[in-house]
Symmetry: C2
């Protein structure tokens, strides 16, 4: 059961394993073989077994993996078995959609508040979360020990917001503005357009046998 | 200049090349070496050269790649040098955000209309696009030869919507509902949560040296 440190490639596959196992669990599937998982994700059975060795095993030759155990271990590794607090900068459409997205609570992400520059929305609420003036951002992060800063603001201010967040002690940044944020804290940039242009590519080549 | 058919892995890297080259072009960079591109994307120079051979070359040993030519070729391969029409089902926050997202027009995606079940929004417009009753979806797709169907509706109806779209002749589906859509036409599922849980993982391990 010795764990090895996962490589970048393993880390990228973890959310896909997590998604697939969640779906299987919802369907009441109790155990799954490495070859079934591999088939579904376009990987070899051996690659799946190697990946799962990185996070502690839970498979027995010939018996497959226990879905619930594997999910619990993945949730632990992905750190979504405990709560993370978050704030959103930008109370526009993307900010609203994120606030109302039920998938976040499922992963123990708790949105505390939103911030904006627009005086017309400051003081209002979205799904019971208050919208504050962005000038209060740094103070709020410090006072509430906020874990995650979500950027749903325009491109031109996104890097500056990230800098303010990091200085105020945020631990990670989830960026929806269409640019690459750089920071001393971990950043994940969401690139909608990547999947859109993958789609137009596939439409043109009619090559829809990709694994994801 | 013989082109080879790109593998699944190359296809996944194409949007990242495209994003990086766009940024370089915006900064006025005219040529770039395979090793610089590789460094930025966590790939070897040789891997970059092999990838670019798949889409026709444009590099000369010792001189690097012409950024504008490479971008034009990528836009051609990704099929975003010509217009694709699209409709959105779901005029809620995600639908609104997509409609107003300026990045789509840049890639020649033209949103024609939205569809919803909510009688309060049907007949209204979002950024000048009409919102129709979802019962008109199939007819509209046929009459307007719509290329792309964007699903921004709830999970429970997403697969049914995809089936309706495919039967009506849509050519590709861009799905924002949190499940895997299956269809005879190409589908790209947008999984927000994948990047969020990659972030929480990185925050926990403080391993922020990933290439993206």
């Amino acid at each position: 059961m010795a764990k090895r440190k996962p490589s970048g490639a393993v880390i990228k596959r973890m959310p896909r394993y997590y998604r697939l196992l969640n779906m299987m669990n919802e369907k009441g599937i109790e155990s799954v073989s490495s070859s079934t998982l591999g088939d579904r994700l376009g990987l070899t059975a051996s690659q799946v077994r190697q990946d799962f060795n990185c996070f502690g095993g839970y498979g027995q030759q010939g018996y497959g993996y226990n879905v619930k155990k594997l999910l619990a271990e993945l949730r632990n590794i992905l750190a979504i078995d405990r709560e993370h607090t978050a704030i959103i900068v930008g109370a526009g459409n993307i900010g609203k959609a994120i606030t109302r997205f039920e998938g976040l609570a499922k992963e123990n992400i708790k949105i505390l508040a939103l911030f904006d520059v627009n005086q017309e929305v400051i003081g209002k609420t979205i799904a019971d979360r208050p919208i504050y003036d962005v000038s209060e951002l740094a103070t709020y992060i410090k006072e509430h020990n906020v874990d995650i800063g979500i950027i749903a603001a325009r491109k031109s201010v996104a890097q500056e917001l990230a800098d303010t967040m990091a200085e105020a002690g945020i631990r990670g940044i989830w960026n929806f503005a269409p640019l690459e944020i750089s920071s001393d804290v971990p950043v994940e940039n969401v690139h909608f357009v990547d999947s859109l242009i993958t789609l137009t590519y596939k439409m043109e080549t009619e090559d829809d046998n990709d694994e994801d």
